[in-house]
Symmetry: C2
Subunit: 371 residues, 2 copies
């Protein structure tokens, strides 16, 4: 065990209760969920994109804000927002997912932001290539090992007063598709999505895509900030740091058919034929297939999988469901080119990270409903 | 008692637990909260505006969508979105608040969407005057009594399969500031805010501002739809329909000073002088004053109150707080020209409507924190 490792900083309380604490509810009210009925859309409208906020949203004055690029670089840069915007524009739709998405489906449940499955979205991001800026600054690719991204948001966790900071390995930071984005869906970033500038790291869980970015620092060692060393870890116990969470596991979701009950969100549908529309993604390798089940996973059949709109955007899939009276459990299961398939049940870990278990939706089909 | 009144449709279960049910959490994850730290802004960015969804978000095809204006009118209208947009534009910032905002602060707590205080926002809405359209259609102002607004969203509540529908008294619908809005913050409405057209009724709680509007019908009686007759009622028991909720009660909130704890959202601040910035509003009469207390409401002092940007937008107020080490409870209390003042504690009712009790925020001031 690392002698400088403090297990208290890694730990998360666990709950077996089917009720949720005030802190969990507060987290859910700030960390806006995506709406599954919008899975029919290729990209997610602003305001429907999921949000994760560790602390308060900083309101940044763009006229005084600067981006500092320093550390192991030959020519440190200090850029205004206009400087950033004048560089060549890159744009791409990117699927982002919170590493904790699916946490509340674990048993016991790690007590922090209680995501079920709605912590995923796809937006078009516009900005500049991080790689180009690092090369312009003369990054030391021999001595440099990691790139640290510092942000404006600040708060206290486990007694530690800190700004949010995360690092990427230098080779990952130099991949050509990593973007410093100043627009989301062709508008300046809204405050809650990181105005004026944020990182977007395609393929990785969302914690890597640092918002309210103001400092990029190349260092010659592993970054040991709190959010890197103690949070976003896949571990079985607080004594073991486990593995850092990095790329998104393969996953699929679908638009719930039928009508909701306004109180319970239970689903009801008239009998008939439904086209089930879903999305699938993986940060590890391209998605190669999605299976659909209308009997709770006893039998599966292949769905029609469409190519993605861009390399890091989710892919649409469709299946036909012949709905007959009764209660049915619909499920989908995606597989990627790395041979990874969604597990049928959640695999527990201490912080509730990376749960990509099969999405299950119960629908009651009733004759009395009209279409 | 009305012989056609069914108390089961009006009832809401109550909870004295400090834990929340899965249904409450699901509601909170869909009904996005406003962020109090954005109270410094005059208007709320898209995506930070609170959202209430009774059912799924309908995805409306604007090319086939039509607005039907009918009932007691001489010249029924069927309008395309382009027809609506070609009429004279009106625009105004309007503060909207959910009638259930503050519900979770009641004891016992009505079990439905568990708002604390974040169900309020202010956006600039652009559209056409409802009054002008009703006059164009030749509204029967003698025989007409109410105007029913029908929407595309559909679901099941208490076993009733229905589209969301609400009515306004005809004289209220003919007030010149009621808008049929197709833009929010100068962009087409996002799906979750009612694309392609919604009602905005200034001064009223949000349930009146029907989203995904497609039908306006003038009727000669009181509308008895489920969302009108049984929901949004201020009542003490399910046997009595009580009063319908209409205009927003006087209320004030402020931006929490200092830093949050990332898990508990408790506030911490270094000692020193703070400018507290807040907003105040009332749907009943203009706000005439806001008081601030730094000792939990034992002593109050007047704050500086600024004029609103528009008649139906919240007003900024500011106060100075000299923060000394220790734990303090900050509060604000607004009064309107109707002589209404925020109560110190919540006034319970069965459905948890219209709670405008004083906002209380505990802040721990600690020397060890830097500014």
């Amino acid at each position: 065990m690392d002698p400088t490792h403090d297990p208290r900083l890694l730990d998360r309380p666990q709950s077996a209760s089917d009720q949720f604490t005030r802190d969990e509810l507060d987290s859910a009210s700030r960390n806006h969920a995506f709406y599954l009925e919008l899975l029919a859309l290729e990209t997610t409208p602003i305001g429907a994109h999921y949000v994760v906020l560790h602390f308060d949203i900083p309101l940044v004055d763009a006229s005084t804000w600067r981006l500092e690029i320093g550390g192991l670089v030959a020519r440190p840069l200090t850029l205004t927002l206009e400087d950033v915007r004048q560089r060549p524009r890159v744009e791409a739709p990117v699927t982002l997912e919170c590493a904790g998405n699916g946490r509340a489906l674990m048993t016991p449940r790690p007590v922090t932001m209680p995501w079920f499955v709605e912590g995923v979205s796809t937006a078009r991001w516009t900005g500049v290539s991080l790689r180009d800026l690092l090369i312009e600054a003369g990054v030391d690719t021999v001595g440099g090992r990691q790139v640290v991204f510092g942000a404006r948001d600040r708060g206290i966790t486990k007694g530690i007063d800190h700004h949010y900071q995360r690092a990427l390995p230098l080779d990952q930071a130099l991949l050509p598709d990593v973007v410093l984005a100043y627009e989301m869906e062709h508008r300046p970033l809204p405050p809650q999505h990181g105005f004026p500038l944020r990182l977007v790291v395609p393929g990785w869980y969302g914690m890597a895509s640092v918002k309210w970015l103001d400092r990029v620092t190349v260092i010659d060692r592993e970054f040991e900030g709190y959010q890197q060393k103690y949070v976003y870890r896949d571990t079985q116990c607080a004594e073991d740091l486990g593995r850092p969470v990095t790329r998104m596991n393969v996953r699929s979701l679908f638009r719930p058919p039928g009508l909701p009950d306004g109180d319970s969100r239970k689903r009801y549908a008239p009998p008939g034929r439904y086209e089930i529309v879903g999305k699938a993604w993986s940060g590890v390798a391209p998605v190669t297939g999605v299976e659909f089940s209308a009997d709770g996973g006893r039998t599966w059949r292949e769905t029609q999988l469409f190519p993605p709109a861009a390399p890091h955007a989710w892919q649409t899939w469709t299946a036909t469901w012949e709905a007959t009276p009764g209660t049915h459990v619909l499920c989908s299961r995606a597989t990627d080119a790395g041979g990874n398939t969604q597990p049928l049940t959640a695999v527990w870990n201490l912080q509730g990270m990376g749960n990509n278990s099969v999405y299950r939706l119960e629908v009651t089909v009733a004759d009395r409903l009209s279409r």
